[in-house]
């Protein structure tokens, strides 16, 4: 959603629209996290009146989807791919292999045991 997107590019890695989108989602989620948690707390608090909790439920469902943590997906810093990303290196398996063979990943060697 373009209204959340930064006016100026604020990323230094490989950039395509999907990477920018994911980055925006991370920022929006971080910004709205207290609000989400507050609503979740109200919803689960049994000492509050039912209508208050129902309203909190409504409000939570009406929050923008970018504020949800489940929207965030790890992406490759080299090619922006979302599948097969190794968490340890933030890279897809193929990019990791190329860079590891070139000796660009510290300490990683071809294994043989």
């Amino acid at each position: 959603m373009s209204m959340f997107r930064a006016k100026k590019l604020d990323l230094g890695c490989f950039v395509n629209i999907r990477v920018i989108r994911d980055h925006t989602k991370r920022k929006v989620f971080a910004e709205h996290e207290p609000e989400r948690q507050a609503l979740r707390y109200i919803i689960r608090n049994l000492s509050l009146p039912a209508s208050t909790r129902a309203k909190a439920q409504l409000q939570l469902t009406q929050m923008h989807c970018y504020t949800r943590p489940s929207q965030i997906r790890n992406r490759c810093i080299e090619g922006g791919k979302s599948r097969g990303v190794l968490r340890d290196f933030k890279m897809t398996r193929y990019n990791f292999r190329m860079r590891a063979l070139a000796g660009l990943v510290p300490g990683v060697k071809k294994a043989s045991w």
């Binding site: 996290e33 109200i42 009146p49 071809k110």
Partner: protein, 256 residues
């Protein structure tokens, strides 16, 4: 390299012999090393600059320089109470061994009894990835990363000296080596009372530190809850029946 150094390296006394003698008399190094081996042959005379290079070979190195070629000296721990555990990690044995050696020497010259380097079990991580960028899962390749670890333990260290030692190592940090240190301080009996007394002075320093420790996010949530509950929309439903029949006190939100 300095020609004097390189040419005289062959002239060093037998390393095993001198190592034993050096470590036996570790506490009074300068006096002891002067009296060791053959004093008539190795007596130190400052070499004049016009000397023939062949004669220079016979000039003995200063003991401190000589010690660089030998195993690091150590001090004996009197009581054996641990005061600092330094763990170093690296992917390269060479760098790690070199820096562990450096740390031991630094500890010796600061007067800290050090033990180690203890080779801790290495951490092996492995990844298996397909060779191709697309399908062909049957052809894969293995990669691994071995993290090597060394532990140096300081015993009976004066807390300030230990801090100096750690700061010195930080200042001369070597590339590709991570360090972490556990430091123990010991107090006299009746710590509680002394701590109570010094609490007032510490309060200012502590508050600035505590503000950095992660309670701020939880506070943000709690404030948000109070802010929302006080809103009119939420207040309107207040008179209605509670979800639970027995009324619970409305406490400010707490998170575990």
């Amino acid at each position: 390299m300095n020609p004097l150094l390189s040419s005289t390296r062959a002239q060093l006394p037998d390393p095993a012999l001198s190592r034993r003698q050096l470590s036996d008399s570790a506490s009074q190094l300068p006096a002891a090393v002067d009296s060791q081996s053959n004093p008539s042959k190795h007596a130190y005379t400052p070499a004049p600059s016009h000397m023939d290079p062949d004669e220079l070979i016979d000039v003995r190195l200063p003991r401190a320089v000589q010690a660089v070629y030998l195993r690091p000296l150590r001090r004996q721990a009197e009581y054996g109470i641990p005061s600092c555990d330094l763990q170093m990690r690296s992917y390269s044995v060479r760098n790690l061994e070199f820096f562990a050696d450096f740390a031991l020497r630094a500890a010796y010259y600061l007067g800290l009894p050090a033990s180690g380097p203890v080779p801790l079990p290495r951490i092996v991580e492995r990844w298996t990835v397909p060779r191709a960028h697309f399908i062909h899962k049957k052809s894969q390749e293995n990669f691994e990363r071995k993290t090597l670890r060394r532990l140096i333990q300081i015993k009976d260290g004066n807390p300030e000296t230990v801090q100096v030692w750690l700061a010195f190592l930080m200042e001369h940090a070597y590339y590709g080596i991570g360090m972490k240190a556990n430091v123990w301080n010991y107090e006299k009996l009746g710590v509680g009372k002394t701590m109570d007394a010094s609490m007032e002075e510490l309060k200012k320093d502590l508050d600035s530190k505590w503000s950095l420790i992660g309670l701020s996010r939880k506070d943000a949530v709690a404030e948000k809850v109070l802010e929302m509950i006080d809103k009119k929309t939420f207040m309107r439903g207040r008179e209605g029946p509670k979800t639970r029949i027995d009324p619970l006190p409305l406490n400010p939100p707490t998170y575990n």
